[in-house]
Symmetry: C2
């Protein structure tokens, strides 16, 4: 088990990746605080190519001022140990100044799949995501980039970004990694108290019930409302959305004719959880 090389600048990253390119390079963008979901991304990357670069960067531009940027969990040493075990070639962990130097004035913005859902509650989120993902893809120029389906809308935004800018990379989507009770793995789960953790475990179960109801032919609007009510009953303080959407465009749908996705976001205290299921 060799420790991955730790890299802090774009210039170093390019130098380090250059001799590895002939074997193919995959990039796994993360914000650190790694869990088994992230390691599943690394494993999926290693199925495709020999060298996996993992970026660890808590991207300030995708957090609103009132959100949890400063308290977002960080722990580079523990992350590096996990990545060594997962046979990661290198870790790119730049300081904020490297990605956003003084006078930084550029925003990459995606409409289309970024419209609605998360954007209704986090208006600057996808601009922040698109800008940093564009920067990471330009910096690492990987053959593959891996994203988890937990952030399903983000995955579609990144797909659109990559297509629109003709970035020469293949996007690999990896299914959601879940805890024993089905809770989608998330770095933010670490914030949950024991009581909140129990409530959190209901999110995926309620969504599964909504999926089952829809498959039995329930009305979409009624099934979504029933999902919201069930989440509140389960102990969520507020529910941002439970929404059935076209799986490709994220446009609202009224039935199951085309591939669809059920997406939800709900809050327990200060913690906001998201999850989704395909139908």
């Amino acid at each position: 088990m060799t420790a991955p090389v730790l890299i802090a600048t774009v210039a170093e990253l390019r130098r380090a990746l250059e001799p590895l390119r002939k074997d193919g390079v995959a990039l796994v963008p993360t914000m650190g605080a790694l869990h088994d979901g992230h390691l599943a991304l690394v494993a999926a990357a290693r199925e495709r190519t020999r060298h996996v670069a993992v970026s660890i960067f808590v991207n300030p531009t995708q957090f609103a001022p009132h959100e949890d940027f400063s308290s977002y969990p960080r722990g580079l040493e523990a992350d590096a140990t996990k990545l060594a075990a997962a046979r990661t070639t290198l870790i790119f962990a730049p300081p904020a100044q490297e990605m956003y130097p003084d006078g930084f004035a550029t925003t990459v913005s995606v409409k289309g799949p970024a419209t609605g859902l998360e954007s209704d509650f986090r208006p600057h989120f996808f601009d922040g995501v698109a800008t940093i993902v564009a920067k990471l893809l330009i910096a690492a120029a990987p053959d593959y980039v891996l994203f988890g389906e937990k952030d399903y809308q983000q995955l579609l935004v990144v797909k659109r970004l990559v297509r629109d800018l003709a970035l020469p990379v293949e996007i690999i989507a990896v299914p959601i990694a879940r805890e024993a009770d089905g809770l989608a793995m998330s770095s933010r789960n670490a914030y949950l108290s024991q009581a909140e953790r129990k409530v959190a475990g209901q999110l995926n179960l309620v969504l599964k019930d909504v999926v089952a109801a829809l498959q039995r032919g329930a009305d979409v609007v009624q099934a979504q409302s029933a999902g919201v009510a069930a989440l509140k009953q389960a102990g969520f303080e507020s529910v941002d959305y439970v929404a059935l959407r076209d799986a490709e465009s994220l446009a609202p749908v009224s039935g199951l004719e085309k591939p669809v996705r059920l997406l939800a976001a709900a809050r327990i205290g200060k913690i906001r959880l998201i999850d989704n299921f395909p139908i």
Copy 2:
């Protein structure tokens, strides 16, 4: 004199450039209707590297609906003949659909040097420029990209874009090519009637007078106003701005302590001309 290869898709462009990369590649982005100013960019490119790619794309997103997108001069055959004589390796002339496929939803936006001046009169212009330049640089991945100083604010916007996204390219700025009477070369000059052409020739002369006045110690605000008045007197119907700015940040300045640039935009009939001088 070999005719340059004519290429219409990003995929073809990448394939064509791949074997040339070992010798270095330069990109000259243009909207066609080539004049000696463009050919000076090609010549400056050839001083640095063997292979020059010229893109010809009248970019719809940098024109407002009331602007001259549909009437912008086009003539691929004449352009190709000039580029063959200038020993261009390839011409990338994609259809609009190739650069903006259905569902295109991504905008690259630069603030900073894009604020004010041209943006006050063409609010969507630099978003269009930044988006297409980012796409072209991602597609061609050149070692050098060349821009003329005639579009001085655009040059600074592109510099900021390249720095902010850490695009691995060196920007080469080429001084303005001018006609015998000093008129900055521009594809839009082709629109000018004989009478308008005479008026147009006054723009550079008035700016030179303002530069001389500033160098003699004239007050900046007064010198700018005198420039506007002189342009109207010379026959320009309206003057968008005559402005002394910091040569790097484009921030307004009140004196000549740091490198500054005098920039102007003025209209004759439907034609809008720009020019600028260093001080």
